[in-house]
Symmetry: C2
Subunit: 222 residues, 2 copies
Amino acid sequence: MTELQLDKPLLEATDRAGAANRERFAGLGLFVLNLMSGPGAGKTSLLERTVERLAGELRVGVIEGDIEGRADAERLARLGAPVTQINTHGACHLDPRPVMEAAEGLSLPDLDLLVIENVGNLVCPAEFDVGESGRAMLLSVPEGHDKPAKYPLMFRTADALLINKLDLLEMCDFDVDAAVHDARALNPALDVFQVSCRTGEGIDGWIDWLRSRVAAARGGRS
Amino acid sequence: MTELQLDKPLLEATDRAGAANRERFAGLGLFVLNLMSGPGAGKTSLLERTVERLAGELRVGVIEGDIEGRADAERLARLGAPVTQINTHGACHLDPRPVMEAAEGLSLPDLDLLVIENVGNLVCPAEFDVGESGRAMLLSVPEGHDKPAKYPLMFRTADALLINKLDLLEMCDFDVDAAVHDARALNPALDVFQVSCRTGEGIDGWIDWLRSRVAAARGGRS
């Protein structure tokens, strides 16, 4: 009980900072995506595909969240995307204040879409509002179809689920129907895409989803 | 800074509880393994292989840590292993006090080896001492060889690293030498096993490692 009482003011301050970020992003008509998954599910590969596919059409900025290192930021910078690195130095998720500091370094009025790649963790990032307009999560085929039941908050709070590494389906005991069924039992409104970032399979539907979200955010500019 | 000051007494209490668990386990001459990885890297599959291989030789008990559900505990109970489930209901790691409560339900004096399967998370469980005698972690091939640099604490604090899903090596861009090199740069004493829980490849070395740890803990009985 003591633990909860001590943490409550900090959590409330974090929520206020998240709400302030959301207001700032909405004022710019910018769609901000919080991209989450466990380690190695393919967040950066999806971002590479996304940046390549939207080149010349939408201006995509990226905030890379990692505990240490900047390897992913370098992968995306090579594609010409404006990217800022946040290193959490041990922390298991991104907080809204460093996210806004990083975002302000990206010349926000020049962007159509800002993607925040969160720390690879299927648990903690789901608990923290960084002020995003929407949430997408990846579940990769080798991780197994039993993950919705085990990590319910992430599936419950996502707007889109990408089932990635579909090219490994024949090598793994992954039941796509069971994964989709269990995820939608937690979150009936979840949009689901079956993709392979390696082969490009299924990426079209994902890109269309992003286009529609970017257009809606532009229309709602305050 | 406020955050650190608030959390410090709680962390110290957790550390004391971990140390108390370790003393209790040592008094029983019991080797207690804290088994950790990201989601879906194969902890439960490794445990199934381990229980099967040690049947009739060592008495293995299991504490299953999950946020929700008891599917993994049921998998292990089917193999005849005494198993207790801890559901953290949202928490991202196991704490030492619920671990001891669960352990006391397992008739500890009858066991040779107790395995604690932690919550699937490559970040937070590494920060919490549950009183284990040793730590093993899994990194699965589809997750990528770049994980040591990104999640250094887990690799730094492990005694054994199992590189799992070796059967998927040809389908993935995973450089085994780079993974081992980067992990050992963080932790030169790390024992590394290349395994496939699906095919059984490499499991012999892992079982020998466990046997030697169990024998050493028995010898050190206080």
